[in-house]
């Protein structure tokens, strides 16, 4: 006996909400690939200076720059959605017995991202 399976083709672009949802989920593909790019860099680093420079040269190719540009946009969107749902994914926070408002949680999350990213930038640029 074969169970009925409802068709799944094309659902994700019929409704803007689902399209944005799918874009956010697609960020996972880029986060995974980015981790593998870094892992490859580590392997090349281990092989010595010539191998590492070849990896760096590959990073400067148009394909790689394009990949990282798309990854940057999708991960930015991931970050936005991550903090936007944080009032729902965190347990209720209370300060002095009063519940922290949802808005404050979102703003604190976004502010932390800006703060940590700035610190990282300054450390790397220095």
């Amino acid at each position: 006996m074969k169970a009925y399976q409802r068709p799944m083709a094309g659902w994700w672009h019929r409704n803007p909400f689902y399209l944005w949802y799918t874009l956010r989920e697609a960020s996972a593909l880029f986060v995974t690939a980015y981790a593998l790019v870094l892992l490859a860099g580590l392997a090349r680093l281990r092989q010595g200076e010539a191998a590492f420079d070849a990896w760096r040269e590959a990073l400067a190719s148009p394909a790689s720059l394009g990949f990282h540009a798309v990854a940057l946009l999708l991960v930015l969107y991931h970050a936005w959605t991550w903090f936007k749902v944080m009032p729902k994914t965190l347990p209720f926070l209370r300060i002095a017995g009063r519940r922290v408002p949802d808005r404050a949680i979102v703003v604190a999350g976004l502010a932390s991202a800006v703060l940590f990213s700035t610190i990282l930038f300054v450390m790397v640029k220095a």
């Binding site: 593909l29 870094l38 991550w82 990213s117």
Partner: protein, 112 residues
């Protein structure tokens, strides 16, 4: 009843998602765009020094490992969303991939 492994993988997914939300865009910009364009220094000497420093090792391991766990876990849900049946085998392969990748990063960092 057998204990579920869900809390472990969900925690790793969550930690990776938080890390990616906090510094993911900046990391991608620095290593994937700014460094290749010559805006920041990612030379062999500087990167080796980072990978040989204890805190640098820890940072690289955490970023690679948690990004893999976050990405692979979310990809399992993507498969489901696109109508691919997800059984224990598929889950184990994706989580296994993240475990292998993290282990590879650990071995490389240990050897550097």
């Amino acid at each position: 009843m057998k204990r579920s492994n869900k809390p472990i993988f969900w925690s790793l997914f969550g930690a990776g998602g938080m890390l990616a939300a906090l510094v993911g865009p900046m990391l991608i910009f620095l290593t994937g765009i700014a460094a290749p364009l010559g805006l920041v220094d990612m030379s062999y000497a500087r990167t080796l020094a980072l990978a040989q420093h204890g805190l640098g090792k820890l940072a690289l391991f955490v970023v690679i490992g948690l990004f893999l766990f976050h990405g692979c876990h979310r990809l399992i849900h993507c498969l489901h969303d696109f109508g691919v049946p997800v059984g224990p085998g598929v889950k184990a392969s994706f989580h296994g991939f993240a475990i292998l990748g993290s282990a590879a990063a650990a071995v490389l960092l240990f050897a550097l």
